[in-house]
């Protein structure tokens, strides 16, 4: 087997050195009747065979890059520079462990320090951690953190929060005996969330742009929350929006969480992605996840280490702020490299192009009879109302080779009032031809 270095002769020599006669003498602790004879699985296969097996599966999927593509709803197709993927595949990044031995992992550590700074700047917050699994789990952790900070147990969730995010928060809260007050779906951003905030509230969780694409004014919500001693948890699923819209930190958010996939990371059918998590400096010891900090070595030279680990499970065990014992290291690296390549100028321009493309698409599609855009303001995604069943429309578009978005019914099944809505995203990858193809296909389908 190509991954196993031993020859048979090596194995025999090693068994002799250990002083046993056969390999099974090392497995004697496994009760005899429970030792496996053989697994009902195929035997080893060469690279060519594995490539063919997996290649066949891959070929059954429609790659986003092969069609006019407008799917978003929490994951976005952006162009990632070739150097990003090259760099993250460097052995020294790819095959390194968590940097617990800082003397020989300064590379990873400096990257994390730079990442934390970039995330803090992007979100307008004072401090960010070294990343979480993804946006949805970061949101759940933010709610738990708000409980710790406020010593309350009730989270209020906006109706613009991504339904999957809501489900993650609700599932955990239900089993942890916390309370969640989730407002009904709010496609147009018109809900009265202020009314839902009360003295029991630990935090109010608001997504902007919302899952429906609507941009939300967070400042009044922050004000109300703070007035009752609650925290504002601001969520985003499209990090590129931060290149153009006012950051949550400038609007009074206490915790900002979001999905970082849009920079540096492929769609990959939903994962791995990278959760971003930022907060105020005063809450740092209540924060979950890894943190990298600056210090000096024995010679006084600047260096970096994982720090404040007394919050973490491997030290504090059942008293930890979270059970999390990893970050999304390589995805964070990809995020950080892409952000570095863009810089201020590039990210702002990228965001403007995204917005322009979405505006152009919205204008073009809403010219069709019976079709309208629900949002008065949006970034690169909006909610489209179509005559008839949105899921069927999206399926019919797919048959015509256009991946036209996500029917809201897929995220919110069983709500007839949402059955005619499609979430439609457009990024810098879309060309005029893509938009024309969409409009033509939609006209044909309706």
């Amino acid at each position: 087997m190509r991954y196993l270095p031993h020859s048979e002769a090596d194995r025999q020599a090693m068994l002799r050195a250990i002083g046993v006669g056969a390999i099974d003498d090392l497995f004697l602790d496994i009760p005899e009747p429970l030792r496996v004879g053989a697994l009902d699985l195929p035997r080893r296969a060469g690279e060519l065979s594995v490539e063919r097996t997996i290649g066949r599966m891959a070929a059954k999927n429609v790659a986003a890059g092969s069609v006019p593509f407008f799917v978003g709803a929490g994951a976005y197709r952006h162009h990632v520079p070739a150097s990003v993927d090259h760099l993250i595949q460097r052995s020294e990044f790819l095959t390194s462990y968590t940097p617990y031995q800082p003397e020989i992992t300064q590379g990873t550590l400096q990257v994390l320090f730079e990442f934390q700074t970039q995330v803090a700047h992007l979100t307008g917050m004072e401090v960010a951690n070294a990343s979480m699994y993804d946006g949805s789990t970061a949101t759940a952790e933010a709610v738990l953190m708000a409980h710790r900070v406020t010593r309350r147990k009730k989270a209020v969730l906006s109706g613009g929060l991504h339904p999957h995010y809501r489900a993650v928060v609700e599932g955990l809260s239900k089993l942890a005996s916390d309370t969640v007050a989730a407002l009904p779906p709010d496609p147009a951003g018109t809900e009265d969330i202020l009314a839902a905030i009360d003295a029991e509230t630990s935090c109010v969780v608001v997504q902007s742009p919302s899952v429906y694409g609507q941009l939300i004014d967070l400042a009044p919500i922050a004000q109300k929350a703070h007035a009752v001693g609650a925290l504002l948890v601001a969520v985003f699923t499209e990090v590129v929006s931060l290149g153009l819209v006012e950051p949550p930190g400038a609007q009074g958010a206490d915790i900002v969480v979001g999905e970082g996939q849009g920079l540096g990371n492929a769609l990959s059918f939903g994962g791995p992605y990278v959760g971003l998590f930022a907060t105020r400096a005063k809450y740092v010891r209540q924060m979950p996840g890894r943190l990298c900090g600056e210090t000096v070595d024995a010679d006084g030279r600047r260096g970096f280490v994982l720090t404040l680990s007394t919050r973490e499970q491997h030290i504090r065990r059942d008293k930890a702020t979270s059970n999390i014992c990893t970050n999304s290291g390589l995805c964070a690296l990809a995020f950080s490299i892409h952000t570095t390549l863009l810089g201020e100028t590039g990210l702002a321009r990228l965001a403007r192009i995204n917005h322009m493309n979405a505006v152009a698409l919205a204008e073009s599609l809403s010219e069709l009879a019976g079709v309208s855009v629900l949002n008065d303001s949006f970034f690169n995604e909006f909610t489209l109302r179509v005559p008839g069943d949105a899921a069927s429309v999206v399926e019919a578009l797919a048959e015509r080779g256009v991946l036209g978005g996500v029917p809201v019914s897929r995220l919110e099944p069983g709500r007839p009032e949402l059955a005619d809505l499609i979430l439609v995203a457009s990024t810098e990858i879309n060309t005029d031809e893509d938009r024309a193809a969409y409009a033509a296909a939609l006209a044909e389908v309706l």
């Binding site: 250990i18 993250i88 052995s91 990044f93 095959t95 994962g271 030279r301 797919a398």
Partner: protein, 493 residues
């Protein structure tokens, strides 16, 4: 060579991405336009490539040397897996594009599940957890849901003291009270001790097997029986599953839930700290509670069930662990690894992992001290620091001295049940020649420690990008992001 911080070399008006400025158009941002600059320095592509290449050169990695981190399983990461994960039909598909356009992806998830279930002898699998600890959470949520479904309230979870910290942390996150289970003198759990702690208050036991001392819990079947008789569930921490693949099926041992770290057992890269993936296999007792989404095998083929609206009779998911469907990028790497090994290769890999650990044990047993006596271990071998008694050299010093010899240190001070623990896991990826050199180096260090060369250890590492770092200072006055230096006038004060 020192590498400055991005913020010290980047400039706001430099970009490594060429984009055309959009023409005029009427924005629809409402009043939400960003008002202040972000403060994000940029680098051109040549500068960026050099920045990250130079940073990478300050890292140790499996590809550059043996990485004997016990319990972390730093094995070879095949490049075929990276190639497969980058196929457009895998990397470039959206989790919410029509299911009719991703049948291959669902098939891949089904196939991964099939392999995991056959290897473990379990009933159902929850693929979506994003890491091992997330898998633990998933498994314990299933257990809590099952307990609640029976109308019971069982507030206690039993956890041995040798467990990973994630075990008690996970239990606590769900509001359980953690009760420790003592270990026997031989490093394993005594079924009698468990039986004494069991009661109708106990929801589950969380056991690692092989355990963190590198030993197979030989009474696991008896423990499982006792747990089940008490109406509780058996959660197995699967961090060490890599020692027994093809040798024992945890389902047959009585386990109800176990997470599988795809990065440990199935070689998806650690990436400097993730991303991982932690699918959870579930017994028939817990299968119904598997969270959304899951793959259901139907006559027409596998089907991805995403919402409660699509549930069939008897499916009672406890909720959802993540947005979307989990770590496809890791699924494909793990499946490529499994397909490459096959049933025979997977078994051989377990055997070689155990062989290698015991070979290191045999090479060191006369000089190092084994806390539980000289007996075979599984895939990792545990030493304590008693062989350093009187030398003034600590486990930490010893580990840092390994750096100067070109090795990553082993896992230190874990498990907590052993004083000055040193946990060595060579994995199956190391050749005999590599282990011989490693053993010789450790022997040499041990003899130097005993010979009184204490300074060499206290000063270590000397040949690394940094010497020992001041972790206390980092924690006391946390500096967690870059701040511009004070202006010259102030600095000069």
């Amino acid at each position: 060579v020192e590498e400055p911080l991005l913020f010290e070399i980047g400039r706001h008006d430099v970009t490594g991405v060429d984009l055309d400025e959009p023409g005029r158009f009427a924005p629809r941002l409402g009043a939400h336009m960003r008002r202040a600059p972000i403060d994000l320095p940029g680098l051109s592509e040549p500068e960026a490539v050099r920045h990250y290449v130079r940073l990478s050169q300050k890292n140790y990695a499996i590809d550059s040397g043996l990485y004997p981190l016990g319990s972390c399983t730093m094995k070879h990461n095949p490049r075929l897996n990276e190639k497969m994960a980058r196929l457009p039909g895998i990397a470039d598909i959206h989790p919410l594009q029509p299911l009719s356009t991703v049948s291959g992806a669902v098939e891949l998830m089904a196939e991964l599940g099939r392999w995991l279930l056959e290897m473990t002898g379990m009933r159902a699998v929850a693929l979506s957890p994003k890491a091992g600890a997330h898998g633990e959470l998933c498994g314990m949520m299933a257990i809590k849901a099952a307990v609640e479904a029976r109308g019971e309230a069982r507030p206690i979870v039993l956890v041995p003291e040798s467990a990973h910290g994630t075990n008690p942390a996970t239990a606590a996150l769900l509001g359980f009270r953690v009760v420790p289970v003592p270990a026997r003198a031989d490093g394993t759990v005594d079924p009698e001790a468990v039986r004494k702690l069991l009661s109708p208050q106990v929801a589950a036991i969380m056991l690692t097997n092989p355990n963190t001392c590198g030993l197979f819990e030989r009474d696991v079947v008896e423990i499982a029986r006792a747990v089940h008789e008490a109406g509780a569930y058996f959660y197995c921490d699967g961090a060490n599953f890599n020692a027994i693949v093809g040798k024992a099926k945890v389902g047959e041992l009585g386990v109800d839930a176990m997470h599988i770290n795809l990065h440990k057992t199935f070689s998806t890269p650690h990436g400097g700290g993730g991303p991982g993936a932690g699918p959870v296999v579930l017994s028939h007792r817990l299968a119904a509670f598997a969270p959304l989404p899951f793959v259901r095998m139907e006559a027409e083929g596998p089907r991805l069930v995403e919402s409660e609206a699509e549930l069939a009779e008897g499916e009672t998911p406890f909720g959802r662990m993540v947005a979307f469907h989990g770590q496809m990028g890791m699924y494909v790497r793990a499946l490529a690894y499994m397909l490459s090994h096959g049933a025979d290769g997977l078994k051989q890999a377990s055997e070689d992992a155990v062989l290698n650990a015991n070979y290191v044990r045999a090479g060191l047993r006369d000089l190092f001290s084994q806390p539980f006596g000289d007996r075979p271990c599984m895939h990792e071998v545990l030493f304590d620091d008693s062989f350093l008694d009187g030398t003034g050299v600590t486990t930490l010093d010893f580990a840092k001295a390994m750096i100067d010899e070109g090795y990553h240190p082993m896992t230190m001070y874990f498990p907590l049940v052993v004083h000055g623990a040193m946990l060595i896991e060579p994995t199956e990826s190391e050749s005999k020649a590599s282990l011989d050199l490693f053993v010789a180096t450790l022997r040499d260090l041990a003899m130097r420690a005993r010979a009184g060369e204490t300074d060499r250890f206290k000063a270590a590492p000397r040949y690394a990008p940094r010497r020992r770092l001041d972790e206390t200072r980092a924690a006391r006055t946390p500096k967690l992001k870059w701040e511009p230096p004070a202006p010259f006038e102030q600095a000069a004060e």
